[in-house]
């Protein structure tokens, strides 16, 4: 616990001049500094102190007051804490009871609960006055992180790097730590921060009619595909490539692969309806009935092909009609 307190004091001393720098520059810088501060492990009490300093900084800039020295700000912060509205005695008693009911760490839990209550009061006051900082909500939502001693050095160094970087672009260690943070907690958990404006839905693209791709588009797409494709790294990728090309069959074996016959069985077998245009008596009808019998037994042709056969015969006999009538 002592280590934590020392590091937290270090962080506060570092945080305050940092906050001074941040407040003096663009609000983006302020944001960055706040986020940098959030990474440092602090108890709830220290965080509250930081919050107070941020608040005071903002008030100072709003009122166009000159920035005091770090010590002066700290004094102000402590004075402000003392001047804060005293909590409801009932709430204090309740907090004490809850803390006593919990198994261990009574004092710490009590102090944390009281800090939480104080924060609630502060937020309500702010809302009444109007113009709450959204970042306050952000910080209140943040859970207290436990930091391993090995990562502390990295964190502090990352914060220092954030200080040095003035363009607002994250340098490598900052980026790495952000990745590690994200991996532990999902990106979309927690309340929306409303830092970025919502992306406007693109209705225009939906209204645009998709024109048929030109030859140049197709060529371009082919070129990209040819450039980006890599030789297969292992046998599995080779087999995938072969399956896509069609060299390898898909497993489990699909007996109807490549067969797009959508017609039902009755369309294959009952072909008499195509014989409407033929004469109902005579050798031709006899012949066509045999043809239909043969076609119905053929599993290899599609319905279209069978209909084509029958239509060809129809045409053929129509052409030969005059010849047949001579006989």
């Amino acid at each position: 616990k002592k280590d934590e307190s020392t590091t937290s004091t270090d962080s506060t001393t570092k945080a305050v001049p940092k906050s001074q720098e941040g407040a003096a520059e663009t609000p983006k810088q302020k944001l960055l500094s706040i986020i940098g501060n959030m990474k440092v492990e602090v108890t709830s009490k220290k965080k509250f102190q930081q919050l107070k300093t941020q608040e005071i900084k903002k008030q100072a800039t709003d009122n166009l007051e000159g920035l005091d020295s770090g010590s002066g700000v700290l004094q102000k912060a402590s004075a402000d804490i003392q001047r804060s509205k005293p909590l409801n005695p009932e709430l204090v008693e309740a907090a004490a009871a809850v803390a006593s009911s919990l198994p261990h760490g009574k004092e710490q839990t009590e102090s944390e609960l009281l800090a939480q209550l104080r924060r609630h009061e502060e937020t309500t006051d702010k809302q009444r006055r109007g113009g709450t900082i959204n970042i306050r909500n952000v910080i209140s939502e943040m859970a207290i992180k436990r930091q391993s001693p090995a990562q502390r050095g990295v964190r502090i160094s990352s914060r220092i790097s954030l200080q040095m970087d003035e363009d607002g672009q994250r340098m490598k260690p900052g980026g790495l730590s952000s990745h590690s943070l994200d991996s532990r907690r999902s990106l979309k958990a927690g309340r929306r921060l409303n830092i970025f404006a919502k992306a406007t839905p693109e209705t225009e693209s939906a209204l645009k009619t998709v024109s048929s791709p030109t030859i140049w588009d197709l060529e371009f797409a082919k070129e990209i595909a040819a450039v980006t494709e890599q030789p297969p790294r292992n046998g599995f990728e080779e087999m995938i490539q072969w399956t896509k090309e069609g060299i390898l069959w898909e497993f489990p074996i699909d007996n109807e692969a490549g067969m797009d016959d959508d017609a039902e069985f009755h369309e294959h077998i009952f072909l008499e309806k195509h014989l409407k245009d033929f004469p109902k008596q005579g050798p031709i009808r006899h012949f066509m009935e045999l043809v239909i019998c043969g076609l119905s037994k053929n599993p290899y042709l599609s319905v279209k092909q069978k209909i084509e056969h029958i239509e060809w015969f129809q045409k053929y006999f129509e052409e030969k009609k005059e010849f047949l009538q001579e006989i």
């Binding site: 050798p283 031709i284 060809w312 015969f313 053929y316 030969k320 010849f323 047949l324 006989i327």
Partner: protein, 123 residues
């Protein structure tokens, strides 16, 4: 004459084949390829006309007319003229149908262990 100096390279675009072969081993193989293509094109027509010809129900005059019609089709369109040649050497005889290779080529590949599932017989 104009065809002779063209060497063996022929551009025969085949819409159905994914592998477009433009070099053939010799002219006989080329002619065989042409015959196969024509036979494919006229296969349905030949089948239908033959159905008219080879039956006892339709009048004989009609069948004679169908005879003349089928004779009028191009000579290379009949499937009987196709010869199963070796794919690599264009050898007309000694070709195993499963591999489409002549016996000499087959033996060559089998001995070099390039034929899948082929082993020298020993019993």
């Amino acid at each position: 004459a104009a065809v002779c100096w063209l060497a063996f390279r022929q551009v025969l675009p085949s819409p159905w084949a994914s592998q477009a072969r433009s070099y053939f081993v010799d002219w006989r193989m080329l002619r065989d390829v042409k015959r196969r293509k024509l036979a494919y094109e006229y296969a349905d027509q030949r089948l239908r006309i033959n159905a008219v010809r080879k039956n006892t129900i339709l009048p004989r005059e009609l069948q004679e007319v169908a005879d003349k019609e089928i004779a009028a089709l191009p000579r290379d369109s009949c499937p009987v003229r196709i010869r199963n040649r070796c794919v690599l050497t264009s050898r007309p005889r000694g070709v195993k149908r499963r591999w489409r290779l002549s016996r000499i080529v087959f033996r060559h590949f089998a001995d070099h262990a390039q034929m899948s599932g082929i082993q020298r017989a020993m019993w």
